[in-house]
Amino acid sequence: MFWFAFLRLLGLTITLLAASLVIFLVLEVIPGDPAEVMLGLSAQADTLAALRTELGLNAPATERYVTWVLGMFQGNFGISYTYSVPVAELISERIQVSLPLAIGALTLSTILAIPIGVYSARHHGKSVDTGIMSIAQIGIAIPNFWFAILLVYVFAIVLRILPSGGFPGWGESVTGSLQALILPVVALALPQASILARVMRSALLDVLHEDFIRTARAKGLSNSATLWRHGVRNALIPVLTILGLQFSFLIAGTVIIENVFYLPGLGRLIFQGITQRDLIVVKSSVMLLVALTIFVTFLVDIAYAAIDPRLRQSR
C-alpha cells in the first residue's frame, strides 16, 4: 500500500509538471502583447517598454516558466494585468462561488442518483425500472445550459421565487447567496445524476448476480439487508470511478453555468481573463482547476486501493 501510494504520488507530480508546461506553452503562442492590450493602441513606446519590464515580459520563456511555477508553490500567483490585484486574491474570492457550486452539484447528484439507481435495480425489468431509465437516458442528453435557461424561466420569471442570476456575495447576504446558487446547482446536477443513477443500477445488477449474494440470502439474511450490506457496498466501486470522472465534468460545467447565471466564479474569471488577455489570471486559474482534477483522480485511485486490495498490484 505504501509503495502504491508513493508511485501514484510520483506520477501525480510528473503529471502536474507536464500540465503546467502545456498550459504555459499554449498561452505563449497567444497572439497579442499583454502590455499593449493594457495600455491601448495609443500608448507611447517607452511606456510600453517600461510596463513590459515591470511585468517581466522581457525575460526568456524558460525563466518566466520557472518563476511562475516556483511562485505558485509560495502562493504567489502574480498580479492581474486588468484588475491590478494579486491573482491569489482574485482566485480565493472567486473560488468561494465555484467550490460551493461544484460541491453542491456533486452532493445533490449523489443523493438523487444512488437511491434511484438502487430502486431501479431492485425492480429490474419492471415498468418502473424502464420508466426511470428512460428518464435518465433523456437526462443525459439534456445540455445543462438549456436546463438552466428553463429553470430561470420557470422559477425566476413565471414563479418569481428565485433570482435569475447574479451573486450578492457571502459577506453581503448569506441567504441571498444560497438562493443565487440553487438554480445553478440543480442545472449542473441533473445530467450528472442521470449518468450516476445508470451506473449505480448496472453496477448493482452485476453484483446481485454474484454467488455471495445467494449465500447471504441462503444464510437467512433478509432481502433488504442483503441488498444494502452486500449488494450496494460492493457496487460502490464503479460508482466511485464515475464520481471521480464527474468532478472533471463538473469543473468544465461550471464554466458554462457561471456564464448563464452571471456568477462571479472561477470559470467566468477564466472566460473574461481570456477575452481581456489577462494571461496571468488565465494561466494560474486553469492550472488550479487542472491540479484539482488531477488531485481528485489521485484520491480516487488511492481510495480504490484501500477498498480493493487486488488493485494495488496492477499498473
Binding site: 500540465a19 443525459i140 442528453a141 445540455p143 435557461i149 465534468f249 470559470g267 488531477i294
Partner: protein, 294 residues
Amino acid sequence: MNQELPSYPPLASYDEISFWKKALHSRSFLVGASLAVLIVIAGVMSLFWTPHSIDVLSVTDRLQPISHDHWFGTDQYGRDIFSMLMVGARTSIIVALVAVGIGMCVGVPLGLLAAAKRGFLEEMVMRTNDLIFAFPSLLSAVLITSIFGPGTINAVIAIGIFNIPVFARVARGGALSLSGREFLLAARLSGKGSFLITLEHVIPNIANLLIVQATIQLSLAILAEAGLSYLGLGTQPPVASWGRMLYEAQTMVAFAPQLALYPGVAIILSVLGFNLLGDGMRDLLDPKMRRRVA
C-alpha cells in the same frame, strides 16, 4: 477419396443477417437509428433547400407565431426557426463527425501502436493520454477556441483533441484483450509482422468496439459543440447553430420562451438518438459488455 466438404455460407453475411434480424427487435437501436437518420436528413437537406433563407433579417416578420408559412414561428430577427434548426443540424453533425474522425484517426493508431509495441512506447502513449484527461475537456476547448479565435474549425479541433485519448484507450484495450488468441499466434507463425497482424487481424476484431464508441462520442461532441457555440466560441453567425440559437433565445426568454425550447429539444433528440444507437449496437454486437461507462 474425393469426399466433398460441406459448404458453409460465408461468415460475414451470416453475422450480418443475424445482426439486422436482432436489430429489428431492439427498441434502443430502432429509436436511436430513426432519430439519428432524421437529424442527418435534416442537415443534408439544408444544403439544398430550407423553407426560408436564414440570411435575411426582417423586422416585420419578427416573433411570428406558428403558421403554415413558418412551421415553428420566427425569432426576434424575423428568421424562420425551422430553417435555422435544419442548418443547425448540419452544423452539429459536421462538427461532431469531423471531431470524432480526428479522435479516431489519431487515437486508434496510437492505441494500436501502444498495444503492439508495449514497453516504453506504450507507457509514453498512456501517460500522454492521462495528461489530456486531466484537462477538463470543455475548459480546454474554451481555452483553445478563444486563443486561436472562435469559429467552426477551431471548435472541431478543440473537440477532436479530447476524443484522441478515448479512442487510444479503447483501441489499446481491445487489442490487448486479443493478445494470446490462437488466430494471432497462427498469423505470427505464418511469418506476418506486427504491422500486418494489426492491420489484418486486430483491426477487424476491434471494429465493433470502435464503432460503438464512436457513436457515443458523436453524442458527446454534439453536446460540446452546443456548449461552445452557446459561449460564442463555436460556429459564427450567419451560419446557424443550436447553441448560438439558445444564447440568442436567452435574452428573450421572458417574452418568447418558445425560442429557447426548439433548439434545446433539437439538441436533446440528437444526443439521445446517438446515445440510444450506441447502446443498441453495443447490445447487438457484443452482449457481454452491456454496461455503459459514461
